[in-house]
Amino acid sequence: MKLKRIICIAISLVLVAALAAGCSANEKKGESGAFKIGGTGPLTGVAAIYGTAAMNGAQIAVDEINAMGGIKFELKYEDDEHDAEKAVNAYNTLKDWGMQIFLGSVTSTPAVATSAEAFNDRIFSLTPSASSTDVTKGKDNMFQMCFADPNQGTASAQYIADKNLGTKIAVIYKNDDPYSKGIYNTFAEKAAELNLEIVSTTTFTDDSQTDFNVQLLDAKDKGADLIFLPMYYTPASLIFQQAKAMGYAPKYFGVDGMDGILTLENFDTSLAEGVILLTPFNADSNDERTVNFVNKYKELFDEIPNQFAADGYDCIYALKAALEAAECKPSMTASELCEKLIGAFTTMKFDGLTGDSMTWAANGEVSKSPKGMVIQNGAYVGLD
């Protein structure tokens, strides 16, 4: 018995030693003269499409910048499965790798957890798309590339009122998703202020996101002519389908989570015809950089990039601009870079794919103007 115990302890020792062995390179600075940038995102699971898009977008930017000469980047993405616990694990793995700048987490819930870690470790973070205000709240080194949720809700209500898109509005939102709920709350507030009439408000959760007949019937009975859908596109695609099946054809208005619906597998794009969405990125824009980016993305990944990809791309370029402005070197430690980048980000102006002359407030929120887009003939077309 005793011997067995000793063996067990010996085995656990060996295991622990093996684990620790990987860390000898711990906290090393960038050796090859490149800034080490890490990010976490859902690369597998239900939200994988966002994580992969942001990662691919960022990778394109890194490749371009490395080819240019000058500043060099090394990018590493770790899977967080859209879960706070896994995201912290992924973040720690990146720290072992020697990450100097953190690209945050792609989705909100994991980002809240990882941003707290990055705040404690003094690693500068710029998230491409985690839009919850809890991500940046109280953390001076946390910045967002996307709109914060409240801004999206307000902007959507404003847009609907300005363009007179609907008189009777129905809202369907996901009750257990901070993203969806955050947008809904501010949308409802702003709508009341603008005297928009919301006739029907219905919800769903993760467990009930396959059947929307009840919600749609409610909207139909109350005569809604526009349905506001602050949600990701997977449930939205089912809503379009089920509404069509019941012969109900209102206008739809989505937010940035709707972006990407056209690349959803097995989705009949004619269902999304006429859907209006508010997103900072327009893949059909004639702007030279956007065209370049879209072509490159299509070539490499065989699909049209969505807003997440553009956000990832912009993040890397914004970091490049800030690093250059603050005259940072890859040999600096993460906390040195952090202080310099905070200074650079709050003072600089940045032109990217997702907006012109973006600026960042000290609380980490970005200021840029959303673009209204409508889906026509299976493609996104700018509304303005």
Binding site: M1, R5, L19, C23, N26, G138, N175
Partner: protein, 355 residues
């Protein structure tokens, strides 16, 4: 080998703690492993407590994460409400743990009354349902605090809490809690594991524990000799859920955010996998299985997208291997070859005499 040798169990846990502490002070522990120490402790407490229900009481529970969730949310609410009144972390942490455990225990008692009237598959399904009910209730729960005290609401948004100026929302419905101050440390986690082990092992070895095991082995026979079925079943179930609650608090206080969705059916199953893999009723097995299975996905990060697939395959192989007589014999022969048989026999003889 005797099941649940207490020296082996405490020895492993304490040795692991000392080794990790030594390695940490030498700076030889990766951030990745360091970040997982607290979750490992929390999951060990979960597995040990579930083993009490599944292995010792012999009732399959599929809603264990529900109790973890109750402990997590009530513990964090207690912790955040006491922040100004009780700044030192240790007493605040202990009180939060006790609050979490108490609430989960009460929930376990309330749920246990109807649930434990059932047996076998029916009980499993009802616990599953209760786990989901807990998740959904927390999903529409709003709790805030201001100078007048705690406010609670079941309505659809946090405005209904009528908080005073300067009040803060703690539980924000489906968005859960954000902005938790991290209090959990490896040492706290380790202490909780020891406490959980102490409670569970002593319960198993007590008079009550023997009654519980008698119920598992033959309920009718146990009843016929006058064992109070409801009482002992509830005792095991409530202890198990209270410990799960404490584990939940420990877990939640290690992250800056928690949502009710985290404690879903999958988490219950995950903990059940730890228990089954470690062996029903085998506490030491639960500890080892939990540690290995929590670390494994992180070690498999090199496989990128295929990591969860590899994890599943490893899990299946381990399950098959540990239940395969030929494999076990080969392993035993291998061990015997390496270590002279005489030595093992002598050693086994001496310890068995002692315990």
């Amino acid at each position: 080998m005797k099941k649940n040798n207490i020296f082996l169990i405490y020895g492993t846990v304490i040795a692991a703690y000392i080794i990790i502490q030594l390695l940490m002070s030498a700076g030889a522990v990766t951030s990745s492993l360091r970040g997982q120490l607290v979750p490992i402790c929390a999951y060990i407490v979960m597995a040990v407590s579930l083993n009490l229900t599944v292995g010792v009481l012999g009732e399959l529970s599929l809603g264990h994460a529900g109790f973890m969730s109750i402990g997590a949310f009530t513990g964090v609410v207690a912790c955040m409400s006491l922040e100004s009144a009780l700044p030192p972390t240790l007493p605040r942490f202990v009180i939060s743990l006790l609050v979490g455990a108490a609430f989960a225990g009460v929930a376990g008692f309330l749920i246990g009354i109807p649930v434990l009237r059932l047996n076998g598959d029916y009980l499993a399904i009802v616990t599953l349902a209760f786990g989901e009910i807990i998740k959904n209730i927390i999903n529409c729960l709003y709790v805030g605090i201001d100078s007048r005290g705690l406010h609670l609401s079941f309505l659809t948004n946090s405005d209904a809490l009528n908080l005073e100026e300067g009040g803060t929302v703690i539980i924000n419905g489906p968005m859960g809690i954000a902005g938790i101050t991290k209090l959990s440390t490896f040492t706290f986690g380790f202490a909780l594991v020891l406490v959980a082990l102490f409670i569970v092992l002593n319960l198993i070895r007590s008079r009550a524990g023997r009654a519980i095991m008698a119920l598992r082995d033959n309920r009718i026979a146990a009843e016929s000799i006058g064992i109070n079925v409801t009482k002992y079943k509830l005792m095991a179930f409530v202890t198990s859920s209270a410990l799960a609650g404490a584990a939940g608090t420990l877990f939640a206080l290690n992250y800056s955010t928690i949502t009710a969705a985290k404690f879903n059916f999958n988490t219950s199953i995950l903990v059940l996998v730890f228990v089954v893999l470690g062996g029903l009723g085998n506490i030491w097995g639960s500890i080892i299985a939990t540690t290995v299975l929590v670390i494994l996905p992180e070690l498999l990060r090199e496989f990128n997208d295929y990591r969860m697939l590899v994890y599943a395959i490893v899990l299946i192989l381990v399950m098959l291997a540990t239940n395969n007589a030929t494999f076990k014999n080969t392993l035993r022969e291998l061990v015997n070859k390496i270590i002279p048989e005489k030595l093992i026999k002598r050693k086994e003889g001496t310890t068995d005499g002692n315990s």
